[in-house]
Every structure is written in structure tokens, then in C-alpha cells.
Amino acid sequence: MIWIDGVLVSRGQGGIYGERMLSDARIWDPYRSKLSALYHQKKGVELEPDMRVLYLGAAHGTTVSHVADYVEVVYAVEIAPRPMQDLLEVARRRTNVVPIMADAAQPEQYAPLVEPVDLAYQDVAQPDQVTIALRNCIFLKPGGTLILILKTRSVDTRKEPGIVFSDAVSQLTGDGGLMVRDSAWLAPYHHDHAAIICTKS
């Protein structure tokens, strides 16, 4: 990852969402992007130029644009039409972004489009986030990484975030057969959000 004086940046054409620039690089704000927050916690995986990434819950393409600066290709999945309009604009300016309008909970909708990937990143506000992540592991190469941003309040507003977190970890390792390598809470950047980093055996 590229850091300039403790500021996470990515190198690419700027002006995607009004981001500030730092010596010709785009500042990747941890308060806006959960993935950036994860890197600020000194966790996460290095993004390499030959990586293929599946991005679930792409929304307006803000974080997608930064990931695309680092890797070879990003498959960006989003279902809602309004954010999809913005994502298409981002994809027009980033030729390594493949915009996919489909429901991340139903991989069969977009399976014929997505090749095997090195990294799957998921940030969706759904109660069954973990199940969605597990269903998408079919696209992961053996040894590939899954970064699941767990939005604990979307799972259950009444449950303690810590309990939601440990339930998610046991579901990932139990039914999913994944190896949980690392995890982190994203406070102070994002509240009640945890990142779980898993490896597919």
C-alpha cells in the first residue's frame, strides 16, 4: 500500500468524488471507506497490481475507484439503481472496473461473468451478511482471501456487536470451512463495524 507521511493514498486519475490530492496521489479517507479504515488499523492484505478482486456492495464506487488504482481488475456488484448510475460513471473512467448490476445474495445471477479472484471484499448492509459471503466463496481461488466487513447493526440492532462478531466467526470457520486469519474493529472510523479476514483453503 502507498503511504505518504502516514496518509493512505492511491495513484490514479482524481476527481471521482471530490477527494483531496496529495502530491498527485488520491487521498483514501478512512472515515469514508471501511477498507481504508482497515489499512489504518495496520491490518488487511496488500493490494498487488496482478490481483483480481470481487467487490460486493460496490455502492457509488468510491472505494471501488481506489481499489481499482491498485489491482488489475475489479468486479463490482451492486443491486440498487441509483448508486449503480454513479458506479457506471466511475467504471467509464476506470477501464479495469467491471460493473455488475445484480444481487450479491444470488451469485447465480452473475456467475457467468466473474472469473476466479484473489480477493473477495464484501460490504453489504444485510442481516445475512455471512451467508452471502460464504455463497460468494465459489469465486475465490484456493488460498484466496475474503475480507468481510461485518456491519453488526445490520445483523441485529438489539444484539451486542461482540456477540454478532463471534457468531459470524464461528459460522465462517464452521459451515464455511474458511480459516479466519485476522480481524479488527474499525472504530474510531466506523462504529459497530468489524473486519474479518479469512483464507480459503
Binding site: V73, P81, M84, Q85, L87, L88, A91, T95, N96, V97, V98, P99, I100, M101, P107, E108, Q109, A111, P112, L113, V114, E115, P116, R135, I138, F139, T157, R158
Partner: protein
């Protein structure tokens, strides 16, 4: 057999799909892949298949197809009858907020110019107040109050349009609670289909989110009504039976929303029976 965006694979041989990106996009939309025994596509297979020249060509063609699928998807989602009604209702509610805010501010301003003027103990409606202020003031104060008057007229016209559109999109719901409240219910649910999927109990407290979550988390008393409080039969009901009226009305609305989604026309016998049932709920025993 494995089906990919560029063609089909069966027994190790590949059958590329002939045609331009539009044909490929139609094919992608139509296919439903079975996820048992699914293997993700491989760009080298696509090259061997003759679907593309190299990796760059593979991604360029794939992107073209994905753009077409997404653009078609967006058009389809925006073509729903309820989509524009959502925007109209949102605009209406925001106009109300802006008009109230500005009227309050202008009254304060006006009062500093005319110290003897007070709104207290006067039966001013907002329109009379605005007219008085705009007639008796010059400069920016007069202009802004004039603008608010015009904005109010726009608001009235928009409210009429919202009612008419709600009558068209959701005739059964409109018959039970009126066009404006029906449109606000639709707004809070996020569309006609999500509204039709809600149970009556959820429709009853739609729009009372803060009270509902404080009930769930902190065990405060549960809310009896949300948006539907705006309907006269709920807010005019005696406090003792208000919750009952809200419950019965919400239950009937849940059925009405489903009729609106699937039958798309008013069902007079249902409306008649429901009205009688809701009226009966409002009678104090």
C-alpha cells in the same frame, strides 16, 4: 454443461456465442446458472474458444456486455409506476419543511422592523401572515416573503398531483386513508412492492422508527401508530380506542397494498367492508 457470458462449454469443447454485445447482454439476462458444479469462467478458455483475442480484449468485451446489462437494469427499475410518485412525495415533504422554516425566519425579521407586531393571540393563518408581511415590507424581506407565497402555491399544486398519482398507483390504499398519507406510506416502505410485502403490524408503526427502536432496545411503551396517525380516523379517535383503530386500519392497508400491486384496480367490495370494519373499531363501547 457450463454456460458463460461468451459461450457454452460442454465436454471440454466450447461453443462461442455469435453476435454483438447486445445479443450477449440479452443472453446473460435470460440465463440462470445452477451453482452446483459451477466453475467460474476462464479468460484463456474464451481465447481458445475464439470469443476474444487476448486478456485485454476479454475484459473490454466483458465490460461492454456488463454496461448494457446494467443500463437495462436501471431503466427497468425506474420504469415502475411508483418510482416517480416517491420523488414527488419526497419533494412535497421537503417543500413543507422549507416553507415552514423560511416563514418562521421572516416573521422574526418582520418583527424587528415592526416592534408592535406579534403573532401571539392572533388567529393568523400562514397565508394571511405572509400576505401582510410581503405587502408591508420592501427589499429582500418583501421579496423572500413573496417567494414563499409562490412556493406555497406550488406546494398546493404538487399536493394535488401527488393525490392524483397515488389514486392511480394505489387505488385501494388511497380509498382507505387518502392519497397523501398513502403516498407517505409508500415513501417509508420504499415502493409498492416492499409495502405489499409488509405485515399490518409493520405498516401500523411505519414512520415511528425512533419510538419503535427505543421500545425494542429500552423497553419503553411501544408506538401505537406512525404515518397512519395523519389519517383523520386515527387522530380523531378517542384515545382509548386509537390504538385499536390504528391496528385495524393497518391490517386492512396491508391487504389493500397487495391488491394495488397485483390487481392494480380498486376493489369496491373490499373497500366497503374495510371502511365499515375501521369505523366500527372507532366506536367506544
Amino acid at each position: 454443461m457450463q454456460s458463460y457470458w461468451f459461450g457454452d462449454m460442454a465436454d471440454g469443447t466450447c461453443q462461442p456465442c455469435k453476435g454483438d454485445a447486445g445479443i450477449l447482454a440479452d443472453r446473460v439476462r435470460a440465463r440462470e446458472t445452477s451453482m452446483d458444479e459451477f466453475a467460474p469462467p476462464d479468460w484463456q478458455v474464451a481465447v481458445a474458444c475464439g470469443a476474444c483475442r487476448d486478456r485485454a480484449d476479454y475484459l473490454a468485451k466483458l465490460r461492454e456486455v456488463c454496461f448494457l446489462v446494467a443500463e437495462h437494469g436501471i431503466r427497468e427499475k425506474y420504469s415502475g409506476r411508483d418510482v416517480e410518485l416517491l420523488q414527488m412525495t419526497r419533494t412535497l415533504d421537503e417543500l413543507d419543511t422549507v416553507i415552514n422554516l423560511l416563514t418562521g425566519r421572516m416573521a422574526e425579521w418582520y418583527q424587528t422592523r415592526h416592534p408592535a407586531f406579534s403573532r401571539k393571540f392572533r388567529r393568523f393563518d400562514a397565508r394571511t401572515l405572509l400576505r401582510t408581511m410581503s405587502r408591508r415590507s420592501g427589499g429582500a424581506l418583501g421579496r423572500v416573503t413573496g417567494d414563499i407565497e409562490r412556493l406555497s402555491a406550488t406546494r398546493t399544486a404538487l399536493a394535488r398531483e401527488v393525490s392524483a398519482r397515488a389514486e392511480d398507483v394505489m387505488p385501494n390504499c388511497t380509498a382507505l386513508i387518502g392519497g397523501l398519507v398513502a403516498a407517505r406510506l409508500l415513501l417509508h416502505a420504499g415502493g409498492l412492492e416492499p409495502l405489499a410485502r409488509l405485515p399490518g403490524s409493520a405498516i401500523q408503526v411505519l414512520g415511528a422508527r425512533a419510538a419503535l427502536f427505543s421500545h425494542l432496545c429500552a423497553r419503553t411503551p411501544c408506538p401505537k401508530h406512525g404515518i397512519i396517525f395523519q389519517h383523520r380516523r386515527v387522530h380523531n379517535a378517542p384515545p382509548k380506542v386509537r390504538g385499536k383503530v390504528a391496528r385495524v386500519l393497518a391490517a386492512k392497508l396491508a391487504i389493500a397494498a397487495r391488491l394495488d400491486l397485483y390487481r392494480r384496480v380498486a376493489v369496491p367490495e373490499f373497500i366497503e367492508r374495510s371502511q365499515a370494519r375501521i369505523d366500527a373499531a372507532g366506536v367506544v363501547p
